[in-house]
């Protein structure tokens, strides 16, 4: 009996030890799990918003925690019924993936209404449950196999990790073959292959027949049923950009491609109009805007990014009224560098404005391919074929960092136009083109007297992203040319439209400032900063007022307390607030307070500002947003920024390669104040959802932890010494491993540009090399007590080293052709990943060797649960402390694991007694 429960899994009637089929089976099923995860993320990116995908996937992965908790409690049952359980779960996994996905896509989850419509919270919960079920099925299968493989765990775990890693790469390749709506075919094929291997290995003919039927069912659910019943396989939100384009009566899709670089679609319609940040004055000075002049490009349903028709000069007169025209006012025949080509509008403006040459960088190969497609080439008049244009097929930031060429104008204009204006909020995404390091690179790549021109959306009230941009650019200027900071900037903004920051290497001359100022006046743009500008008078109270606007209790209430017309005390000396008690305010009938005609008996135009009941001040006035911009610039050039930033309503810290985020404006200390007014924070929901994910994942993981504790601590686990240390050990491994994996995904975007590719490469690299590590660790199992502390120390040292020195290496890698970059990135991640494969395999193998079977299966779940907590915690840690800190936290987790490891090695009490008796 003892052999039946404690030795390795064995195929009936076959040789006692495993065959390659077992390893293939576990590797493929683990691979299907990871492929399904990536698929769900793609579905949310295309149909909805990525951060809700992260939320759902993170929680769904708790299926592994639940499976292990239950299996730890009912270990005997799973040992006895392993054949039936593994057959059922592996067979069901496929149809569950297909069925739950199709069901989830019919669920009318609409994040736009998450706050205002109570039903949407339940729709989100339903999405989570639907995607949780398939993971649970896979987890029970994998857990059962693990439970039966304690003696050969290192090898099985190698198969698990390597399979998951390689299938991550497979799904990346699948993105070239299948559009997102059909990408499920990849996890289904992997699952089916895994199922066959498993059932062949255990020799279950009936199981194979069931699997074949399950395969048919899965295909039916994913491909036949949706067509027959008119169901959608990716519900693209009505609120995604592409949904609007599809409804334009004359819209036609002229180009589509799918790849890891996005689901790219280009539509032609006369209803598309692009002139980002156009001055209102254009309306009165140019005969007409060009019509039918644009294609709209959508990536993952977001957009549009405008692609312009080749237009005759008279139709491009409006370029003169765009904010990106500024630098051309003071530069003749400039050599221009466009940091992000996008749809080519900046490039077209440069060419029409006298550029001698334009070098344009575009890091998305899918965009470059689209621009080169015949239909697009015909439309743009073969823009890329213009002899004045040179394309750089990777990040402009990387090109400028490694070239000796210098430019008269470097343009970064509304490159993230889509992200900054989309509903659903910013995801926590890395914006390496906007960091302090990137800005310094651009500034250094300027000719003496050259101009860097950065234009971003300025649609927030109170301003947020523009203030971060200002702080970032001034910090970069201090790095490059500290003596000239105050003289080197000119800034203008258009209210609720765009803001443009100009930096001139060596500083602006008074004549140039006069030209720029005249242009701002002519465009009706507000001057935010010019050298020598005096601090604004209006700004004295604006910071406090903004705080009250966002976080006020409402007590200060509706009217401006400083306004005598609206001061309730003056109107109502009796004390009661007439505003809130209209009966008191107005015993006789018409409300004197609320009736503007009465509020302003002098006549004139009382209704100019009816909301406040007083006339607007005459003459030019400075809007609060502009006043804050001016105040910010005064603080920046006088080096008193930290005082300004501390007093500001939002976190407006600069972007660095360590914290490359535009999102996360709400300070953690203010989070609880947002709960009754979430609609005010809709553009920061990506960040808020991260906290929600962490909260829910933390509570759920805790409950899973409690389950075996409550039901088994004094019974099942009473024989196990060192169980607390063991829990800590596996918690550290789960937490640390995931911190490295996801933290590195964020870092490697520096070299790989695209988050999806970076994620796939890192997942593959980490898992495959860790798998190798776990395989090799078997050789050291007997010497674990002496070897493992060195392994942990090595991991800690590597991680700290990587956290400090990775950036320049990745920047260097980023300048190579894409395939070479992939190879370099895999090599770079190999050393820590290899070592990080040791601890879990060694720990689990020892638990198996010591026959701590309950703890064995539970430890695996603890590891899984804490990796979920880590993946939820990473965005919070990264936005609060930076990516360097994330990797260092991981290093710390591995060091904490050293003492805990020795708890794992403590033998069972019964075994001790038996040994003593023997």
């Amino acid at each position: 009996m003892a052999t039946a429960t404690s030795t390795a899994i064995r195929a009936p009637g076959a040789t006692p030890l495993p065959a390659p089929l077992l390893y293939l089976a576990i590797g493929l099923v683990a691979g299907a799990v990871i492929a399904f995860q990536i698929f769900i993320m793609r579905v949310f990116a295309v149909g909805s918003w990525t951060h809700f995908g992260s939320f759902v996937v993170a929680l769904a992965m708790l299926g592994f925690g639940l499976a292990s908790a239950v299996m730890a409690l009912a270990e005997g049952f799973f040992q006895r019924r392993w054949r039936a359980i593994s057959t059922i779960t592996v067979t069901l996994f496929g149809p569950l993936m297909a069925g739950c996905h199709v069901l989830a896509q019919q669920n009318p989850f609409n994040p736009i209404f998450l706050v205002s419509d109570p039903v949407q919270k339940w729709n989100l919960a339903l999405n989570f449950i639907l995607y949780f079920v398939p993971f649970l099925s896979a987890a029970v299968f994998i857990g059962t196999v693990f439970l039966k493989s304690t003696a050969i765990f290192g090898r099985v775990y190698f198969a698990d990790l390597a399979g998951a890693g390689l299938c991550g790469l497979l799904v990346l390749g699948g993105m070239f073959l299948f559009p997102p709506e059909n990408l499920l075919i990849v996890p289904l094929l992997i699952w089916f292959a895994g199922g066959i291997c498993w059932l062949l290995w255990i020799g279950s003919r009936g199981g194979l027949i069931a699997l074949a039927l399950a395969g048919l069912l899965a295909v039916g659910l994913q491909f036949v049923l949706p067509q027959a019943a008119n169901l959608t396989t990716i519900a693209v939100s009505d609120y995604k950009g592409v949904s609007y384009a599809r409804r334009f009566p004359d819209a036609t899709e002229v180009y589509a491609s799918h790849s890891p670089f996005g689901d790219l679609r280009i539509y032609q319609s006369s209803y598309l109009h692009f002139a980002p940040g156009l001055s209102d004055n254009a309306a009165f000075n140019i005969p007409q805007m060009p019509s039918n002049a644009f294609l709209g490009m959508y990536i993952d349903s977001d957009g549009p990014i405008g692609i312009m028709r080749a237009l005759p000069a008279e139709q491009t007169a409006y370029f003169r009224y765009l904010p990106m025209y500024y630098p051309f006012l003071i530069k003749e025949d400039p050599s221009v560098f466009v940091v992000q080509f996008g749809g080519g509008i900046s490039t077209a403006v440069a060419l029409a404005s006298g550029a001698a040459s334009v070098t344009a960088a575009e890091s998305n190969p899918a965009v470059l391919a689209a621009m080169d497609a015949p239909v697009v080439r015909d439309f743009t008049g073969d823009l890329l074929g213009d002899p004045r244009i040179e394309m750089v097929p990777y990040e402009g930031r990387l090109f400028l960092g490694s070239t000796d060429r210098r430019y008269d104008i470097i343009d970064l204009s509304l490159a993230d136009s889509v992200g900054l204006s989309s509903p659903g909020g910013f995801a926590i995404s890395e914006r390496y083109a906007y960091t302090r390091e990137a800005m310094a690179t651009y500034m250094r790549a300027l000719e003496e007297g050259g101009v860097l021109s950065v234009t971003v959306w300025n649609k927030e009230e109170p301003p947020k992203s523009v203030l971060r941009l200002y702080a970032t650019m001034v910090a970069a200027a201090r790095d490059v040319d500290p003596a000239n900071v105050a003289n080197s900037f000119y800034v203008s903004a258009n209210y609720l439209s765009t803001a443009t920051v100009l930096y001139k290497r060596g500083g602006f001359t008074p004549e140039e400032i006069a030209i720029l100022s005249d242009n701002s006046y002519a465009m009706s743009f507000d001057e935010v900063y010019a050298p020598g500008m005096m601090p604004p008078d209006e700004a004295s109270t604006v910071l406090a007022e903004y705080y009250e606007q966002i976080f006020g209790t409402g007590d200060a209430g509706l009217p401006d307390p400083g306004d005598p017309l609206l001061d309730p005390a003056l109107l109502n000396p009796g004390g009661a607030d007439p505003l809130l008690d209209p009966a008191l305010a107005n015993p006789a009938g018409g409300s004197p307070l609320l009736d503007p005609l009465l509020a302003n008996p002098a006549g004139g135009s009382p209704m100019l500002d009816p909301l406040l009941g007083v006339p607007e001040p005459s003459g030019p006035q400075v809007l609060p947003a502009t006043a804050v911009g001016r105040l910010a610039w005064q603080a920046l050039v006088t080096d008193t920024w930290s005082e300004f930033a501390d007093a500001y309503v939002f976190d407006v810290a600069e972007l660095t390669n360590n914290r490359p985020y535009f999102a996360a404006y709400v300070r953690p200390g203010d989070l609880t104040k947002t709960l009754d007014r979430l609609e005010l924070f809709q553009d920061d929901w990506g960040y808020l959802s991260v906290w929600a994910t962490l909260l829910v994942a933390g509570i759920a993981a805790l409950l899973l932890l409690l389950l075996p504790l409550v039901f088994g601590w004094r019974t099942i686990f009473s024989r196990y010494p060192g169980k607390l240390g063991t829990l800590l050990y596996f918690a550290c491994l789960g937490f640390g491993y995931m911190l490295v994996e996801v933290g590195m995904i964020s870092k490697f975007i520096l070299a790989l540009s695209t988050p999806t590719v970076s994620a796939s490469v890192l997942i593959t690299g980490m898992l495959v090399f860790s798998g190798l590590g776990s395989l090799v660790s078997e050789r050291f199992l007997d010497r674990a007590r002496t070897v493992m502390p060195f392994v942990f120390a090595g991991i800690g040292a590597l991680l700290v080293g990587y956290s400090l020195f990775l950036d320049p290496v990745l920047d260097w890698i980023g300048t190579f052709p894409y395939a070479v970059r992939l190879v370099f990135c895999l090599l770079l991640i190999a050393p820590p990943a290899f070592l990080m494969g040791f601890p879990l395999a060694t720990g689990m193998s020892w638990l198996g060797r010591l026959k701590k079977n309950h703890l064995f299966i539970w430890a695996w779940g603890i590891n899984g649960s804490f990796s979920v907590i880590a993946s939820a915690a990473i965005p919070v840690l990264a936005t609060s402390f930076g990516l360097t800190a994330v990797v260092q936290f991981a290093g710390a987790a591995y060091l904490i694991a050293i003492p805990a490891f020795f708890a794992v090695l403590l033998p069972l009490r019964g075994v001790l007694r038996a040994a003593a008796a023997g």
Partner: protein
């Protein structure tokens, strides 16, 4: 859902909620710009009685209508009697989807399909109050959507033009207006609507005194600025649905004769403190509650 189905389902749902015969009844008296229901806070019953008698509307919705009205008044979303009247005379339940009928008078913005929302009543009240529409002024709305905004405007002036880019919405909302007109809501005869690209405005009827733009775009369309009368006002909600800031543009003639525009928000450059959500409990408006 086509127009006929929409009308039928909306009507059917209203009928299900109503006193038999009241929901779809024709309006008892023809509309005129002088007719005004009780506006005083606290006169709920008088308002309901007046509306049932003069407009033949459903008392269930009228009670919700009044409750929302009191919140709007307390929050200063509607200020003058003309806007108060306009709000009270516009049956919001006729402009929402059937599935949202029970939420017609909630604070929140609601989905009306096709990626379009009907703004919360407070935003419509604030925005419309801020442009101070006078009787006889010509108002253009770009982005008809549910039709509620133009319906509200039709109580303030007798000349409203509205353009919708999405054909099914344009058709559906025209159907709503026609249905209401057939029932005696003849104030909606003031509304001219078409399905077109609002970017180009409606030149043959310009210039307009007031323009409301409710669609997202990366710049203010020059044709709309051209069709705005000098001295006229344009308002544009900016930002994601439900989190709008309202841009206010005034077209001015400088002393040197040049035309310029002045951008601000509808608060005239003031920072307005956050107003917590309020709700009615009985007849009392009480403070903060999370929605």
């Amino acid at each position: 859902m086509n127009r006929r189905e929409f009308m039928a389902t909306t009507g059917a749902a209203a009928a299900a909620l109503a006193v038999p015969g009241a929901a779809r009844a024709d309006v008892p008296f023809p509309y005129n710009y002088e007719m005004t229901p009780p506006l005083q806070v606290g006169q709920r019953d008088a308002y309901i009685a007046w509306m049932v008698e003069n407009r033949g509307e459903n008392p269930t919705y009228l009670a919700q209508h009044w409750a929302r009205y009191e919140v709007l008044v307390a929050n200063r979303d509607v200020l003058d009697d003309r806007n108060k009247r306009a709000f009270l005379l516009t049956p919001r339940e006729e402009f929402v989807l059937e599935r949202n009928l029970s939420r017609a008078y909630e604070h929140a913005f609601l989905d009306i399909g096709y990626g379009v929302t009907i703004s919360g009543p407070h935003l419509v009240g604030r925005m419309t109050t801020s442009i101070d529409v006078q009787m006889g002024e010509k108002v253009l709305e770009v982005g008809t959507g549910s039709g509620y905004q133009s319906a509200y405007l039709a109580n303030l002036t007798n000349q409203v033009w509205t353009i919708e880019i999405i054909a099914p919405i344009a058709e559906r909302t025209r159907g709503v207006y026609d249905g209401l007109i057939a029932r005696g809501y003849n104030e909606y005869l003031a509304i001219s609507s078409k399905n077109a690209d609002g970017y180009y405005g409606w030149e043959e009827f310009g210039p307009f005194d007031k323009i409301i733009v409710t669609c997202g775009i990366d710049h203010v369309p020059p044709p709309l600025l051209q069709q705005l009368r000098v001295g006229g006002t344009m308002v544009i909600p900016v930002g994601p649905p439900g989190a709008h800031h309202v841009l206010k543009i005034i077209k001015e003639q400088a002393p040197d004769g040049t035309i310029r525009v002045n951008r601000s928000d509808i608060y005239g450059g003031r920072i307005v403190p956050f107003v917590p959500f309020t709700k009615l409990e009985g007849d009392q408006i009480v403070g903060v509650h999370a929605e």
